[in-house]
């Protein structure tokens, strides 16, 4: 399949790419034919984005060759990719909201009067934008500002923009993740339109059902390697999941305790916030680690931040130790001894310019204060030192600014902050994202020790191994809903992936 095909539009041969010693792509071959929709799938970190960044000139491959219409090419800048006819519709749309649809379609290349290269021909611009949009089956008024449009309509503007560049290949990165079902159907109609014009589409998605609806062929990557390329008609969802996950279920450290009889620490009933998540119900017992798995964009972060009072819920009840509680702000949550280790520690967890001690006391200054008002620095220092020792925090002193700590060190400070606040329920959102292996192991260890102490833990993670290793019970979310619950014994990579991608469990 990886032979140089004369009928291919794009052919990437034996692509290898290394980032600081880590091989992100290893001898990958990928080929797109004219007028086909080619799905590219794989777990987070499988190498899909890196491969597409090489096609669009953002990265250069270490080894391998790219052919465009049978000719070897070197794509060194995004501009060169545009010149060839390769365009990408990004996950975060790259439009200027204040400008009109027409201006966005022709951004940077306004049609101009001959001889006056700074003189825009507005009528021409609008009529050309209009005909492009009509060709895609969506007659939008090109003079409307893009900021007024829905996400789906903005995507359309990006596609029209690609066509205005006379694109022959359009890459769509997770285009349906922000769309409703109805909008998804419309997008699929637009993609069919593109096909009839002979435009090829590389379609990156986690949603396997969609892929069966829209794609002609599918390529699976795993851990930077090419696993399979098949006509979609010859594959099943199960088979694709197996290709994506592939690895044998790793040896797990099976602690033989599952404290189901313990008291319920946190119970959530029918929690909804429209556009984010719907009708979420679950509970976490004392000493239990409940994993919350799902794909990026499934609504997990939104759910836990709402639980913590940082966003508003529309309906639903939350119970702590059997008592109904109202949590409207994070302050309420902290008062009820809830802890949230947020997904982005630099933005939501730490005052980077503050010291280790400052940050550790952040969530509980009152606990260290005399008369609830005057700080007790000596006590703060003592607690900070104890926690730093307990968590093996590598820092010259607790007066060190946290900006100078490693990612793992910073995450430990966030954990220490909640430990010093004496939290009873820990919500951990991607607690080991972007930290080194050593700190990772230490944080796993800490999570287990917390559970042993009777703390209830809700662990959100996109790393299946992490969830399988730590959780006593696993909830899986798909498009804002809990799509299944698995016990530690029955959980496998494949089952989780199936639930996370919306496939049925057999």
């Amino acid at each position: 399949m990886s032979t140089m095909d004369s009928e291919s539009l794009l052919s990437m041969q034996h692509i290898t790419k290394t980032f600081s010693g880590v091989r992100v792509l290893d001898d990958v071959c990928f080929e797109v034919r004219p007028g086909e929709v080619h799905a590219l799938i794989g777990e987070n970190g499988a190498g899909k984005s890196t491969l597409m960044k090489i096609v669009t000139g953002l990265y250069e491959a270490d080894r391998g060759q790219v052919f465009w219409k049978g000719q070897p090419v070197e794509i060194k800048t995004p501009h060169q990719a545009h010149e060839l006819g390769i365009n990408i519709v990004h996950q975060e749309l790259m439009l200027v909201p204040q400008l009109s649809i027409g201006e966005n379609v022709f951004l940077g290349r306004h049609p101009v009067r001959s001889g006056f290269s700074r003189w825009v021909r507005w009528s021409d611009l609008n009529s050309r934008a209009k005909s492009l949009l009509e060709g895609l089956g969506h007659p939008l008024d090109p003079s409307r500002p893009v900021g007024e449009l829905s996400i789906a309509e903005q995507q359309l503007v990006e596609i029209a923009r690609a066509l205005a560049f006379s694109a022959e290949l359009i890459i769509m990165d997770e285009p349906t993740s922000p769309l409703s079902d109805h909008e998804t159907t419309r997008l699929f109609r637009t993609i069919s339109q593109l096909k009839t014009r002979g435009v090829s589409v590389v379609y990156i998605s986690h949603r396997l059902k969609e892929i069966h609806q829209i794609a002609d062929r599918v390529t699976v990557l795993r851990d930077g390697r090419h696993i399979a390329t098949r006509p979609i008609s010859e594959t099943t969802t199960d088979q694709l999941v197996r290709y994506m996950v592939g690895r044998e279920i790793g040896e797990q450290c099976s602690d033989n305790k599952t404290p189901v009889e313990a008291e319920e620490a946190l119970r959530v009933e029918g929690l909804s916030a429209s556009g984010k998540f719907y009708d979420i119900s679950f509970s976490v017992h004392r000493g239990e680690i409940v994993g919350l798995a799902g794909l990026v964009g499934a609504g997990r972060t939104e759910l836990v931040e709402t639980l913590f009072g940082a966003c508003e819920a529309e309906s639903g009840e939350v119970y702590l130790d059997g008592q109904a509680v109202t949590i409207n702000t994070p302050m309420d949550a902290v008062r009820h001894r809830l802890a949230l280790v947020a997904d982005d520690r630099k933005a939501k967890g730490l005052v980077l310019g503050g010291s280790v001690r400052f940050n550790i006391a952040l969530a509980a200054p009152g606990r260290f204060a005399r008369y609830g008002l005057f700080l007790n620095s000596a006590r703060e220092k003592e607690v900070a030192k104890d926690l730093a020792r307990e968590l093996h925090l590598k820092t010259p002193s607790v007066e060190q600014q946290v900006i100078y700590l490693s990612g793992g060190g910073q995450q430990k400070v966030v954990l220490a902050k909640w430990l010093s606040a004496d939290s009873k329920v820990f919500i951990l959102d991607e607690p080991t994202r972007g930290i080194d292996v050593g700190s990772k192991a230490e944080i796993y260890d800490l999570i287990r020790r917390l559970a042993q102490r009777g703390v209830a833990i809700l662990l959100v993670s996109s790393e299946l191994e992490e969830i399988l290793n730590l959780a006593d019970r696993i909830l899986v979310m798909h498009r804002g809903r809990i799509s299944g619950e698995l016990s530690r014994e029955e959980a496998t990579d494949e089952l989780i992936m199936q639930l996370a991608t919306g496939g049925a469990v057999h």
């Binding site: 940082a310 939501k348 005052v351 952040l362 200054p365 204060a369 700080l375 902050k417």
Partner: protein, 313 residues
């Protein structure tokens, strides 16, 4: 270094001026500088709190003006001076609190907006209620707070030192002060740590307004008059003092004593240049250069520090 930079600046400036003018380094003159800086020092203290939260308060000059007129009118109406002082500070704090509520409840995009609005509203009201005329000849008990002395030390100087000591304790030794730094350092992280961000911001703007009114009392007492144009442009002097005093415009950094030194540097420059017969217009030029230079020195210092860190790594 960040801590002692402003102090070093003050010492260097004073040393140079003492060589250029023999009169500069006399007790009378130094006390005079401090006294002249006292109103700016009070406004700058409020501004410091706001700037630590990464905000800005453009209304303090106008709040001073309105409080100044109102306190004079109350005194003229025969209200006892302690009541007048209490009322003025309360009004100033209420106006400041309004800034804070506009910012947090209406979710205005930046404190620039509500305080710019208040700057105009308060100044306009100062003219409306006074009819545009100064209100002079105030009672002695009140004038004591602006013009009196205790053992050769002007009362405003004692007041500034006392208020600064109080706010030093507030900022560095209380949980409320800790929250103020946390909000300026990372508002989102502060929110996610359970700090009531909106309430603290409202408090900070209220304190800034209250301190502006305190400045009005000192000014009206010293000049024996409440006039609607009082404190015109004073917000910019206050911001300058805070910045010269080493606080960061990005929030999270700044100290009470740094700000006092910042206010004194401005006072020393104005006094010294006046002694040297430099016109007020040229004084403005010098102050402008000093503001930019003070921040630039800080930028340089930070840059060399990061570079050194990189080398070590």
């Amino acid at each position: 270094m960040r801590r002692f930079g402003p102090l070093l600046g003050l010492v260097v400036t004073s040393t140079i001026l003492s060589f250029m003018s023999p009169y500069f380094l006399t007790f009378d003159n130094l006390i005079n500088v401090f006294r002249q800086s006292s109103v700016n020092a009070l406004l700058a203290l409020g501004q410091l709190l706001v700037i630590i939260t990464a905000g800005i308060d453009l209304s303090v000059g106008s709040i001073l003006g309105l409080s100044c007129v109102l306190v004079a009118m109350m005194l003229k109406a025969g209200v006892p001076w302690p009541v007048c002082i209490a009322a003025a500070v309360t009004i100033g704090a209420a106006l400041g609190m309004t800034n804070g509520l506009l910012l947090t409840k209406l979710r205005l995009p930046h404190p620039f907006i509500p305080t710019l609005g208040m700057m105009n509203v308060a100044r306009g009201l100062a003219f409306v209620v006074s009819g545009g005329f100064p209100i002079s000849e105030l009672p002695d008990g009140f004038r004591f707070w602006g013009a009196g002395t205790i053992a050769y030390i002007p009362v405003p100087v004692i007041l500034v030192v006392a208020v600064y000591a109080l706010f030093h304790i507030f900022l560095s030794r209380t949980t409320l002060g800790r929250d103020v730094y946390a909000i300026g350092g990372n508002k989102q992280a502060a929110m996610f740590s359970g700090i009531p961000v909106d309430r603290r911001l409202t408090m900070v703007y209220a304190l800034s307004g209250g301190l502006a009114a305190l400045g009005a009392i000192v000014l009206a007492g010293r000049l024996n008059s409440g006039f609607p144009l009082a404190g015109d442009g004073a917000e910019l002097d206050a911001i300058a003092a805070v910045i010269i005093g080493g606080a960061s415009f990005f929030g999270g950094v700044g100290t009470v004593w740094g700000t006092l030194i910042g206010a004194l540097i401005m006072g020393v420059l104005r006094n010294g240049l006046t002694l040297l017969n430099v016109s007020p217009n040229w004084q403005k030029v010098v102050i402008g250069v000093v503001i930019v230079a003070a921040v630039w020195i800080d930028v340089l210092r930070q840059r060399t520090r990061t570079r050194r860190r990189l080398v070590r790594k």
